[in-house]
């Protein structure tokens, strides 16, 4: 497959899936987002995320330390915004409280760990997973492992510049952006029943 044609799609892609960046997928500029490796306007990504979450059988948010712990001013507000979004799309949370590898292994029913996130995905049969508040280096590792070993559709709501190894990623996610995403999901939910199995609508490349 040519580098420019590489799409970040659900796996399982194999034991060592390539990093999307190495296949030519570039992070979006401000105001844009990535859907399956293609740069799209942010509003299109909102729509795609809302469709995916509302259509999911078992959507789960994976809040990371940057959201789970009220470590600085503003985090509690962001956590509340995440909770509101979860409520609208009918998702539950499985936390990633820190990045320590656990011995002998984690309890996949109650937590997810970046070193073997596939265990939690498999155990809970998660079809759509949302990363939020996970520090970049661990999110990248975990997203690649999930793409390598599971068919989970991954979404990264990133406070920095996004994650190309997620199937959909937003960048610069703050409380306002979470609220806009929540509104998009609320509007879509009000419009009718979720269209199970429909691929997210991908907008015009910018």
């Amino acid at each position: 497959m040519a580098v420019s044609e590489y799409q970040v799609r659900p796996g399982p892609e194999g034991y060592l899936p390539p990093a999307a960046a190495s296949m030519g997928v570039e992070l979006p500029e401000r105001g844009a987002a990535l859907v399956e490796g293609r740069v799209v306007p942010e509003d299109d990504a909102f729509q795609a995320i809302a469709e995916k979450l509302l259509a999911a059988r078992n959507p789960v948010f994976f809040p990371g330390p940057a959201v789970l712990w009220a470590w600085k001013d503003g985090v509690a507000e962001k956590a509340r915004a995440v909770l509101r979004l979860m409520e609208v799309v009918g998702a539950r949370a499985i936390p990633m409280p820190d990045y320590r590898p656990k011995y002998p292994m984690i309890n996949p029913a109650v937590e997810i760990n970046p070193n073997h996130p596939n265990l939690t995905i498999w155990h809970n049969r998660i079809d759509v997973g949302v990363f939020v508040g996970v520090h970049c280096h661990y999110a990248n590792v975990a997203l690649k492992i999930i793409r390598g070993g599971t068919d989970c559709y991954t979404i990264a709501l990133c406070g920095e510049v996004g994650h190309e190894d997620a199937m959909i990623t937003l960048r610069d996610v703050d409380v306002k952006k979470l609220e806009r995403l929540t509104e998009a999901a609320r509007a879509l939910a009000a419009a009718g029943p979720p269209r199970t199995g429909v691929m997210p609508r991908v907008g015009t490349a910018v």
Partner: protein, 290 residues
């Protein structure tokens, strides 16, 4: 990190795993706890992958319980058995390249002083005998020469344990190990003496067979390194796996070595450190009376 960080964001309390909630409600952060309080609070290490009967594991448990301010401590580790455990400890920690631990700790301590000029941040190196006395001796001694305000704790298990049993500078003379079948040809390196001569303000040798004493030593070493100068603690914790001892007999073996005079509990405190520790003790008594 400060104890103020240990607050779960509102709304996520219910999904947080029990061990984290217990760390928040009953952890050692911001509390004046020590070895004597073990069993009454949530410890910083829950489970570990070290061998059954490992004296090093017990020593680490005691060391972690003795940190004066775990919420403001960063541990710098190095390659070895202990590095298998440190990733699971609920204290900030860095794994450095084999032998580089005191150089990394130096930079870290200086950076923390710049970043947090009004806070006390303890940087504690905890590494094995291979990392401390063999591969990293240069970096260890240079940090002492420079009087870096860090604590160095060597876990002396007397062997390169998890790479198959090669002799280290701390293996006893004559020791026959899996990868040293002819026996070691020279005695243990006398690092406590070297530490004293190299500028450490506090030097001690101890073992986990004396848990309260170990706790006191670790605490004093960290306090001295806050203000006076570098400190060094050598914890005698020989490896039962490589020395082929039954797991349950390790502490007795340590006690036997102490009775034979092969291992000695020692403490050196410089006059400045002595005065400093005495001043802290007076302050503590004063606070207790109030």
């Amino acid at each position: 990190m400060s104890k103020g960080l240990f607050r779960i964001s509102p709304g996520f309390e219910d999904v947080m795993p029990a061990e984290y909630k217990e760390l928040v409600t009953n952890g050692p952060y911001g509390r004046d706890l020590g070895v004597k309080d073990l069993g009454t609070f949530k410890e910083l290490i829950e489970e570990h992958p070290l061998c059954a009967g490992c004296a090093e594991a017990l020593a680490l448990r005691l060391i972690l319980a003795s940190l004066p301010s775990p919420e403001d401590t960063v541990i710098v580790g190095s390659t070895g058995c202990s590095s298998l455990l440190f990733t699971q400890v609920a204290v900030q920690n860095i794994h450095s390249l084999f032998g580089n631990q005191n150089a990394v700790a130096t930079g870290l301590k200086r950076a923390l002083r710049l970043r947090f000029p009004d806070k006390v941040k303890d940087v504690v190196v905890i590494a094995g005998d291979g990392a401390t006395v063999d591969i990293g001796l240069d970096m260890v001694m240079q940090s002492w020469f420079r009087r870096e305000l860090i604590t160095t704790i060597m876990l002396d298990n007397e062997v390169y344990a998890n790479t198959g049993g090669q002799e280290s500078g701390m293996s006893p003379q004559g020791a026959v190990l899996y990868m040293a079948p002819l026996g070691k040809k020279f005695p243990k390196v006398n690092l406590p003496e070297i530490a004293r001569e190299a500028g450490c303000a506090y030097v001690a040798t101890i073992s986990p067979a004396l848990p309260r004493r170990l706790g006191k030593v670790v605490r004093r070493a960290i306090l001295v390194a806050r203000e006076i100068g570098p400190s060094y603690v050598q914890v005698f914790c020989p490896c039962p796996t490589n020395f082929k001892w039954p797991s349950a007999q390790v502490l007795q073996k340590i006690r036997d070595r102490q009775k034979e005079g092969i291992f000695k509990v020692r403490e050196y405190v410089s006059p400045e450190a002595e005065a400093y520790l005495a001043g802290l003790e007076v302050e503590r008594q004063h606070d207790e009376q109030e």
